[in-house]
């Protein structure tokens, strides 16, 4: 009897291993000569949620992803690469635009968020959490009629027609096959490697810098009044919340409910990270706030109590004017100037 158990156990294990082995062949593999990139987890950060083990970043894959990120051919008319809405100097948000511009003089529905620490996003990407895996995110803007307005097939064909891409796909994945899976995995490598963890805040935490008295005071206010949702060190808890904003007529954006069909999710949006907040204005899911102070004043004075308004915000957030000003000064310490000037993420030559 014991032997039977052992045999079936062995059988199950060997099965599992073999099944895994077999499946791995179907994944886009790493090219033999490719150099593996190490993904460094900053001190205090949790393990990333993106499964890099299924898409090992390599220098070649990263460079391919970078070229794709800056390539207008991913859009129908060539004018809208990923980088048209995600600008490095603004921590990869669209600077100074409530909503971004897309194909044929159209606006996007929402404010383009900055791109950094994406590898740690959980609970879905996008303001409504509709995207369940980093790798498939680019498909949303790529196919949206008011964004890049393209079709996956067309993009793949455009890449195949370029003399450089087959070489780069081979360098990254082992042969010249160009398909959407490889394209998406390369972009995921590039975007996944965007880590922002070198702000003044981080240096203070590491004992290499000091807050001013005002910043320190702002940090205390932050910890007391903001940190439940904007949880350190990522400055988001990845939840969806209704922050009591009025609906903008014409946009009629009900947020998370579009994904879940659940009325309890009406007007809920993902809590954005506050890292780099000073350079990612305007703010809010539709970019309606033009300054950090205006956002804070919304929480102080203007929260609308509806059925789904977050319990933590029902009475607003009570802050003095000094609290607000110090909070703004603290939030400015979250700007990571080395990230926005990191040449690895810049437009390739």
């Amino acid at each position: 009897m014991k032997r039977k158990v052992i045999i079936s156990l062995l059988c199950t294990i060997s099965l599992a291993v073999l099944a895994l082995e077999a499946c791995r062949k179907n994944e886009s593999s790493i090219a033999p000569g490719a150099s593996v990139l190490k993904f460094d987890i900053p001190p205090g950060f949790p393990d990333p949620t993106y499964k890099f083990e299924n898409n090992t970043p390599t220098q070649q894959g990263f460079e391919l992803g970078r070229k794709l990120f800056y390539d207008g051919r991913l859009s129908q008319d060539g004018n809208f690469p990923c980088s048209s809405c995600h600008q490095q100097f603004a921590a990869f948000c669209t600077f100074d635009h409530p909503r971004s511009h897309g194909f044929n003089n159209q606006f996007t529905l929402r404010n383009a968020p900055g791109l950094f620490n994406i590898a740690w996003v959980s609970n879905g990407l996008h303001w409504d959490g509709g995207i369940n895996n980093l790798e498939v995110q680019p498909l949303a803007p790529l196919t949206a009629p008011n964004e890049m307005a393209e079709m996956v097939d067309n993009v793949v064909n455009k890449l195949k027609a370029d003399p450089n891409y087959p070489v780069m796909f081979k360098a990254a994945f082992g042969d010249e096959t160009i398909n959407s899976q490889r394209m998406l995995k390369a972009i995921a490598q590039f975007v996944g490697m965007m880590v922002s963890a070198n702000s003044k805040y981080d240096r203070v935490k590491a004992g290499r810098d000091q807050f001013t008295a005002e910043e320190q005071s702002g940090y205390s206010v932050f910890q007391a009044k903001c940190a439940v949702c904007h949880q350190e060190p990522l400055f988001t808890d990845n939840s969806f919340r209704n922050t009591g904003l009025p609906i903008i007529e014409g946009l009629n954006d009900f947020g998370r409910m579009r994904i879940t069909n659940n009325p309890q999710d009406s007007l809920k949006f993902k809590v954005p990270s506050l890292r780099n907040v000073n350079i990612t204005y305007p703010y809010g899911h539709d970019g309606r706030f033009y300054s950090i102070g205006a956002v804070i004043d919304h929480y102080r004075f203007d929260v609308i109590n509806g059925p789904t308004t977050d319990p933590l915000l029902r009475n607003g957030i009570s802050l003095t004017d000094d609290d607000r000003d110090n909070l703004v000064l603290f939030l400015r310490t979250l700007t990571d100037s080395s990230f926005i000037s990191d040449t690895r993420f810049a437009q390739p030559e």
């Binding site: 099944a19 369940n132 790798e135 196919t143 398909n179 899976q181 394209m183 995921a188 579009r258 069909n261």
Partner: protein, 258 residues
């Protein structure tokens, strides 16, 4: 001792059953010392072989003319008549697309033996829906992937009906959703009665023909009138109702043993 031998045999054989064969690359099936079965889908509109551009009538008396009919088949398994146990087929995600006859059939390598049941998932399991960029039949270029609410469209009908209130009388059913409460994948179980069992023999390919009746989408578990619902393109109650209907669209029409 006999049981142990049987288990040991399973150990030797099962891994092959689980190995990930590439869809459509297995045309040599049945020639490498294994047996094989070709699964053939025959798309129907009631009793007629489905043709695009031809007007058919649903059982609710509404006309429908199709121009798209696609569905995913995955997680296939068979029941061994002798062992009375399920044998999983090699991992397959296959898109049957009425506009492309090469998608109507595919071959699976299987151990030899008598099989008295085939079962499969209509749709793509939840795991594959959240596992990132895929290729082959799961390539988003197949236009069966929702980009704004990540997940596969498990089955799709597009066409026209004079009962549709939409622009140009369009009928658009993009049926997707894999989360609890919204799941539109359906486990299809088709029994092969005595005399119609699959008999797989080494080095040979058997054939099984499965009819898929598009008109079943509109009635059965739920009566769904085109006049009331010309468009279903989000997960939810309507989509699961259609799924309850299409769960009954398959039946076995023939088995050809080698």
């Amino acid at each position: 001792m006999k049981t142990i031998l049987r288990l040991a045999f399973l150990c030797a054989v099962l891994p092959f059953a689980f190995s990930c064969t590439k869809d459509k690359s297995d045309e040599s099936g049945g020639q490498n010392g294994t047996a094989a079965v070709r699964i053939n889908f025959v798309n129907m509109a009631g009793n007629d072989t489905l043709k695009f551009g031809t007007s058919y009538q649903t059982s609710l008396g509404e006309d429908i003319t199709l121009q798209t009919f696609k569905y995913y088949i995955s997680n296939i398994s068979f029941r061994s008549a002798s062992a009375n146990s399920d044998i999983a087929a090699p991992e397959t995600y296959h898109l049957v697309d009425q506009s492309n006859p090469s998608t109507y059939s595919f071959v699976l390598n299987m151990p030899a033996g008598e099989l008295n049941q085939i079962s499969f998932l209509l749709g793509v399991d939840s795991t594959k829906n959240v596992s990132g960029a895929q290729t082959g039949d799961l390539d988003p270029a197949k236009e069966m992937f929702w980009t704004w609410n990540s997940g596969y469209i498990m089955a799709k009908i597009e066409g026209t009906s004079s009962f549709s209130t939409e622009v140009q009388n369009a009928v658009t059913y993009h049926i997707g959703g894999f989360r609890t409460g919204e799941n539109v994948t359906r486990r299809i179980v088709l029994n092969l009665t005595a005399g119609e069992q699959l008999n797989l023999v080494d080095n040979k390919t058997a054939n099984i023909f499965i009819k898929a009746d598009a008109l079943k989408w509109f009635s059965g578990a739920h009566d769904l009138r085109i006049a009331e619902h010309p468009t279903v393109t989000t997960p939810g109650t309507l989509a699961t109702s259609i799924a309850d209907n299409y769960a009954n669209m398959f039946n076995i029409s023939a088995v050809n043993n080698p």
